[in-house]
């Protein structure tokens, strides 16, 4: 796609400023005092049910002992908690300054950092799995995680969240030049969990970054998955899969900030909703800065509404400050089951419920394959199956 001439000439007449006038990405600050407690009227908070966040967005303590973290590190990769100056040096290591109160508080108040270090040129054969298990949904805590992928390294990090907890987390990802990094974050929390998280990645020159956000469990799950580029040729694939049940709020926001030329971003988020007051939000922000010539971006969100009483909000935002790009596009669709698909399957003897099951599997299948981690793919299919059993397949066992 190219930008029309009229837009291009308007862009050329605009003052050559690097500063971007936008409410979508306010200037960051490490000083907590610079971030007022959100009221819910702010653009970036207007969908989030603040009352259910247990104060994580405001001033809840972040020192609760309500999560247990454990990990398995393959050879050549270091995983461990660091503190003191070492932890302090890692605050903002992704080249970003906090743009929300909770992220500023996590960086200022949480003393230790969980650091995953994949040294340069190390290729990890097995995924690095970080298990985060919540033990108490009434306590509130904060976490700072840094995933550092050295030059020309290649590794997959899986963050697996289970159990009950209220957690505010900042995950900073540094993908050095030429590295190939995958980060899979699975939110498979218990029903009462609250999880507010911000994943910020800096993608180096010619580096490849894949981020997969997978959210099934929890009362409120909100994740911001952001990317900036540290040099030309970087590529980011932002994947998301979510399944919201009755009463659940699952919110995913992405921000691909094209800060370098010839970079790529490709986002695909797919969700299913079932049950009263199941609510999902997807906000896809893409900014093509003036410097970002020759970039390519595409973002897509699809929602499948399985029952009455659900709400899926889907908002793609594309801001373009240069017309000299390869392509930019977005798509968003929210729909119920396609009657034609169900009729076709049923006309082959397949029951209505089984037909619905097939269609939902099909809906997620391609995305699950894109995650590219075999052990996770199988688990995701099983989890989708379990989610379906709650509604679509309920009548089968009755």
């Amino acid at each position: 796609m190219t930008i029309t001439d009229s837009v291009r000439s308007a862009l050329e007449q605009a003052p050559a400023l690097d500063k971007v006038e936008s409410h979508l990405h306010p200037a960051g600050s490490f000083d907590v005092a610079d971030h007022a407690v959100p009221t819910g009227r702010e653009e970036i908070w207007r969908f989030t049910p603040l009352k259910r966040l247990k104060g994580l967005h405001a001033d809840a303590p972040l020192d609760g002992r309500n999560v247990r973290a454990s990990w398995a590190a393959p050879e050549g990769v270091t995983v461990g908690m660091v503190s003191g100056d070492e932890a302090a040096d890692l605050r903002g290591v992704s080249g970003w300054a906090p743009n929300t109160r909770f992220t500023a508080r996590v960086l200022a108040e949480v003393p230790a950092t969980l650091l995953v270090d994949v040294p340069a040129e190390v290729e990890a054969d097995e995924p690095i799995v970080l298990e985060v298990d919540g033990t108490d949904a009434d306590a509130t805590s904060g976490a700072h995680v840094v995933l550092r992928f050295g030059r020309h390294s290649k590794a997959v990090v899986v963050l697996n969240h289970t159990g009950s907890a209220a957690v505010a987390a900042v995950v900073e990802v540094v993908v050095a030049d030429g590295a190939e990094a995958s980060v899979v974050s699975i939110q498979d929390w218990a029903d009462d969990a609250v999880h507010l998280s911000h994943h910020q990645a800096r993608v180096g020159r010619d580096a490849t970054y894949k981020h997969a956000a997978i959210s099934f469990g929890g009362d409120v799950v909100r994740m911001d998955a952001n990317v900036t580029y540290d040099g030309p040729g970087g590529s980011a694939e932002l994947l998301g899969l979510y399944f919201a049940d009755a009463g659940q709020h699952i919110e995913h926001r992405i921000f691909a900030d094209h800060t370098a030329p010839r970079t790529k971003s490709n986002a695909i988020y797919k969700g299913a909703l079932q049950g009263e007051k199941a609510h999902t939000v997807w906000v896809g922000n893409v900014l093509i800065r003036k410097v970002a010539e020759g970039i390519e971006t595409y973002e897509e969100n699809r929602n499948l509404v399985l029952t009455d009483g659900c709400q899926a909000d889907s908002i793609p935002n594309l801001e373009i400050e240069t017309g000299e790009i390869e392509g930019a596009g977005h798509a968003s669709a929210t729909a119920r089951f396609d009657d034609n698909q169900l009729f076709y399957l049923q006309s082959r003897g397949v029951s209505e419920q089984e037909a619905q099951r097939l269609v939902v599997h099909g809906f997620f299948n391609d995305l699950i394959r894109k995650v590219g981690v075999p052990s996770i793919e199988e688990r995701l299919m099983t989890t989708v199956e379990a989610e379906l059993a709650k509604n679509v397949l309920k009548d089968l066992s009755a």
Partner: protein
């Protein structure tokens, strides 16, 4: 023993101006081993007949009956009709993204038979059916109808016909959009099915071309929602020579 009996079938579809009657009293009996061709101009209701037999929701039956071996087909759901032995090869097969042909065929076969097919013979059967229709073995890994060419869609329909092995098959314009090679391949598939014991076929078509490859026992001319004339295969030859004008004139007079 299978016999499809359609008696005085009336069907309406909902339009913006209210329900519109499409089928105006269709009576037709397909006995076991018989192939009936239904021919007619566009808009005569041929496809409506096919979809009504299969049970597509947007068609409302306002009168008449359809029975398969005495069983009331209209009282059955779409999937129950398929399990009772009916099959509809669709004019426009539907894409089901992310569902592989292999998974789809196995799920359908399991539903029709009431038990999962034996793995070893099933894989052989599927590959054989695909090969017979000139479809590559990799075809089974593709998503159902997604990105298929027109010819691939129709050949996939006939592969299903052979694998699911219904009692009565309704083929809705299976010949449309096919080049001559694809038409031959599809026709051979239908003929293999017909050669099986006691199978009935209702072949709906606009053109006489396919009847050179699939020889019908009876030909019915369908005009304005009902059978205007019935005869043997010689009726098809006459249609080829004269077209449908003879049937349309009284309506426009």
């Amino acid at each position: 023993m299978s016999k499809l009996v359609i008696t005085d079938l009336h069907v309406t579809v909902d339009t913006e101006d209210g329900p519109k009657e499409i089928l105006k009293g269709v009576t037709l009996t397909i006995k076991e081993g018989e192939t009936h061709a239904i021919m007619g101009p566009n808009g005569s209701g041929k496809s409506t007949l096919a979809y009504s037999i299969a049970g597509r929701p947007k068609y409302t039956i306002t009168g008449g009956s359809v029975t398969l071996d005495g069983q009331d087909v209209l009282a059955l759901s779409v999937d129950e009709r398929a399990r009772a032995g009916l099959f509809l090869a669709m004019q426009y097969p539907v894409e089901v993204p992310g569902v592989s042909v292999a998974n789809f065929l196995r799920t359908a076969k399991t539903a029709i038979d009431g038990e999962a097919p034996k793995l070893r013979t099933w894989v052989k059967d599927v590959n054989g059916a695909l090969e017979a229709l000139n479809l590559d073995a990799s075809f089974s890994q593709r998503s159902v109808n997604e990105g298929f060419s027109g010819g691939e869609k129709k050949r996939h329909e006939i592969a299903q016909l052979e694998l699911l092995d219904p009692q009565v098959a309704v083929l809705d314009e299976t010949d449309s959009g096919l080049d001559i090679d694809a038409l031959k391949i599809v026709s051979e598939g239908v003929n293999r099915f017909r050669a099986r014991e006691g199978k009935g076929v209702l072949l709906i078509t606009h053109y006489t071309r396919i009847l050179r490859y699939i020889e019908p026992d009876y030909v019915h001319v369908f005009v304005d929602g009902k059978v205007a004339e019935s005869g043997g295969k010689e009726l098809a030859d006459r249609l080829e020579a004269e077209g449908y004008d003879r049937y349309l004139k009284p309506a426009s007079a």
